[in-house]
Amino acid sequence: MRLLFGTLFGLALAAVVGLGLTYYALTRGAAFGGLSIESWTAWPKSGTTDADPYARASIARSGRLPTAMGDGVSFTLTSDDDGKSLDGRCEVVVSGVTPAARFWTVTLYNRDGGLVANSTNRYGFTSQEVVRHADGSFEIVVAPRANPGNWLPTGGVERYELILRLYDTAVGVSTKAGREVPMPDVTTRSCP
């Protein structure tokens, strides 16, 4: 009896730990070889045949086609520079410059990878659309209410993520965080 109970306990623990870890790994987008620059993270290897099993599982589960190496690289942002999760009810400022690339786009998605509905039908900016300062830096205000300048509407959703995609860039698997790859700063300016 004790043996049976013990075995059942062990198996139940195994199931909980095993599936719990799997769920956690996939929802957090865990994969090896992440390239973190400031608050932004990219997984350049996920766009190659060297993608590890975690990246493969995450790609299959989400249903997306990853940005291929040779096309570009995608940086994901889920929290600001203070580690606070991006909140669509707050005013978040993304400012600075990006690493060298022929084009880039920054797009706002909900946590499922969908675009967020808003009155202006703006879902992101491209490197050509964005209005810059004289020194070439830019400032995008991600906020629920209209703002002058580069306003990226959040539609008031609670959680969102920004994806910065660099196209035709040298940033890739062998890139190390450093001065050559400056990423925009992200600060939460005000929260209701």
Binding site: G6, F9, G10, L11, A12, L13, A14, A15, V16, V17, G18, L19, L21, T22, A25, L26, G47, T48, T49, A51, P53, Y54, R56, A57, I59, A60, R61, S62, G63, R64, L65, P66, T67, A68, M69, G70, D71, G72, R102, F103, T105, T107, Y109, D112, G113, G114, L115, V116, A117, Y123, G124, T126, S127, Q128, E129, I163, R165, Y167, D168
Partner: protein, 203 residues
């Protein structure tokens, strides 16, 4: 008693780790909503299908870039190699190749291709081995891509850096071609003279 529980917990954790690794490895093979499965109902085999632009209500796949016009060719190489032709758009055009399991194995952009039209042949390793060597030499400027799996996805994307350029980008991807080549009769001496190709403008 304590030792017995410690052993049970240790065993449970160990088994849990194995369950976790097994789940991660099996998942791509059992996923029913991966990109290939999402594209299957809308994309016939070996044809270019323009994808509708993603909107908040509806998107074919998650995390699509709204600044791009995109099209896919869901390919099946069992009938022979595939020929792909993509006219480049004014801004930026890329062609990415994915296996059946949505893993990118090759990508090329307009600048790397260095011409107005990206042209390449897609074939399996076995089909590549059958290409006569002299054929490969005469067609030196023909790009050959080997697919690791007999089926997969080609994603063609053209950028519209400004909303006004979206139409041009859509036209560029819609004008792409992806078609099966008829296997050429093997081992015939190639005596026919090939017409001189006009020099393509370099970018």
């Amino acid at each position: 008693m304590i030792l017995r529980w410690a052993l049970l917990i240790f065993g449970g954790l160990l088994l849990g780790g194995i369950v976790h690794l097994a789940a991660i490895i099996i998942l791509p093979r059992t996923a029913t909503q991966d990109a290939f499965a999402r594209l299957t109902p809308i994309a016939p085999v070996n044809t270019i299908v323009a994808l509708p632009a993603p909107t908040p209500e509806k998107a074919v796949m998650p995390f699509m870039d709204p600044a791009f016009a995109s099209a896919v060719c869901r390919y099946d190489l069992s009938q022979g190699p595939l020929k792909l032709t993509v006219p480049v758009s004014p801004a930026y055009t890329s062609v990415s190749f994915y296996t059946r399991n949505d893993i990118a194995y090759y990508a090329i952009n307009d600048r790397a291709a260095g011409r107005r039209v990206i042209e390449l042949d897609l074939m399996t390793t076995a089909q590549h081995d059958q290409v006569p060597e002299d054929e490969e030499v005469t067609a030196a400027d023909r790009l050959i891509v080997e697919s690791p799996t007999p089926t997969g996805i080609i994603a063609i994307r053209a950028m519209a850096p400004e909303p006004g350029l979206m139409r041009a980008a859509q036209a560029a991807v819609a004008a792409s071609r992806c078609a099966t080549q008829q296997p050429e009769p093997p081992a015939r001496p190639t005596e026919r003279t090939r017409p001189l190709e006009p020099t393509r403008p370099r970018r």
